[in-house]
C-alpha cells in the first residue's frame, strides 16, 4: 500500500493476501458462533430439527447452491482472465458473478416471503404454537441465513466495483490484488453456504 507516506517501492501482494485471509478467519468464526449454537441445539432437538427442516423449500435451496457455485466459478475465472490480459472476459465474468448474487437474493426473497406468509418468522404466533425445538430451528435459520444474505449483498457490491475497476484499468494484469481479495471474499460466502445448505435444507 502506498499510503505510508513513502513512494510505492513495491506492492506486498503476499502481505495483502495474508491480511485478507486473516479477515476471512474472523468471518469464519463469526459464523462459527452460530454453528456452535446449531450443533448444540441439533443435539438437543434432533427430531424437531428434522421436522422443521422438512418445511423448508429444498428446490429453492438447491437452486441457490448451484447459483452460488456457478458465481464462484465465474469469479475464479475472472481473476485468471485479468492476469492473462483478457479484460473483456474478466468483466463479463464479474458481472456474471454479480448476477448470481442478485439471483440468489431474489430466490431468498421468494423463499422467505412464502414462509412469512405462512406465518413462520421469529416470534410469530404460528411459530410459538410449535415445539420448542422447531422455534429454535427457525430462529437460527432466520438469523444465520439473514447474516449470510447480508454477506452476499456486500460481496455482490464488491464484485460490481471490481468490474468497473477492470474496465477503467485500475485493476490490471500487473495490479490485481484487489480483485483477488474480493474474489476471496466471494468464495467465502460460497463456503458458508456449502455448510448452510445441508445443515438447514437436507436434515431428515
Amino acid at each position: 500500500m502506498n499510503d505510508a507516506g513513502h513512494p510505492p517501492v513495491h506492492k506486498d501482494y503476499t502481505g495483502a493476501k495474508l491480511g485478507m485471509w486473516l479477515f476471512l478467519f474472523t468471518e469464519v468464526l463469526l459464523f462459527g458462533g452460530l454453528f456452535v449454537l446449531y450443533s448444540v441445539y441439533l443435539h438437543r432437538y434432533p427430531r424437531e430439527f428434522a421436522a422443521a427442516a422438512a418445511e423448508l423449500n429444498l428446490t429453492l435451496g438447491a437452486a441457490n447452491t448451484v447459483i452460488l457455485l456457478t458465481g464462484s466459478l465465474l469469479v475464479a475465472v475472472a481473476v485468471s482472465a485479468v492476469r492473462l490480459g483478457n479484460r473483456k472476459l474478466a468483466q463479463w465474468m464479474l458481472w456474471g458473478g454479480v448476477l448470481s448474487g442478485v439471483l440468489f437474493l431474489v430466490n431468498k426473497y421468494l423463499e422467505w416471503s412464502t414462509e412469512i406468509r405462512h406465518g413462520i418468522y421469529p416470534n410469530s404466533p404460528v411459530l410459538l404454537q410449535k415445539e420448542q425445538g422447531e422455534i429454535v430451528f427457525f430462529g437460527l435459520y432466520y438469523i444465520t441465513l439473514g447474516l449470510h444474505g447480508l454477506h452476499v449483498l456486500i460481496g455482490a457490491v464488491l464484485l460490481a466495483v471490481m468490474a468497473v475497476w477492470v474496465a477503467t484499468g485500475a485493476v490490471n494484469r500487473d495490479d490485481f490484488v484487489k480483485l483477488e481479495n474480493s474474489g476471496l471474499y466471494w468464495h467465502l460466502v460460497d463456503l458458508v453456504w456449502i455448510f448452510i445448505f445441508p445443515l438447514y435444507y437436507l436434515l431428515l
Partner: protein, 94 residues
C-alpha cells in the same frame, strides 16, 4: 512486482472443479433422502467439507500459496472445532 507470484490458473481447472462441485451437490441431496439415522448428518458434513476443500484449494488458490497460509487456515479451523468440542463437554453431560 518484487516477488514471485504463482502463475494464473487455467480456466479448464476451474470448470472441472465446478463440475465436481455440482456432482457433489447432487450426491449430498440424494444421500440425504436415504434414512441413515445419525449417519446422515456426518455424511452431509463430510461432503460439505470435501466441497469446501475444492473451493478453498482451487477457487481460492490455496493450493498455490505458501505453506504459511495453509497452516494459518488450519489454526483457524482447529480453533473453531475446539470451541464446539469443549462446549460439548457441557451439553453432552448435562
Amino acid at each position: 512486482m518484487s516477488e514471485q507470484q504463482h502463475p494464473a490458473v487455467p480456466y479448464r481447472t476451474f470448470v472441472i472443479v465446478w463440475a465436481l462441485l455440482l456432482v457433489l451437490t447432487a450426491i449430498t441431496v440424494a444421500v440425504s433422502r436415504i434414512h441413515l439415522g445419525a449417519l446422515n448428518i456426518w455424511v452431509a458434513l463430510g461432503i460439505a467439507s470435501l466441497k469446501s476443500a475444492l473451493v478453498i484449494f482451487f477457487f481460492m488458490h490455496l493450493k498455490y500459496e505458501r505453506l504459511l497460509f495453509k497452516l494459518l487456515l488450519l489454526l483457524a479451523l482447529v480453533t473453531l472445532a475446539t470451541f464446539i468440542g469443549l462446549t460439548f463437554f457441557d451439553v453432552l453431560y448435562r
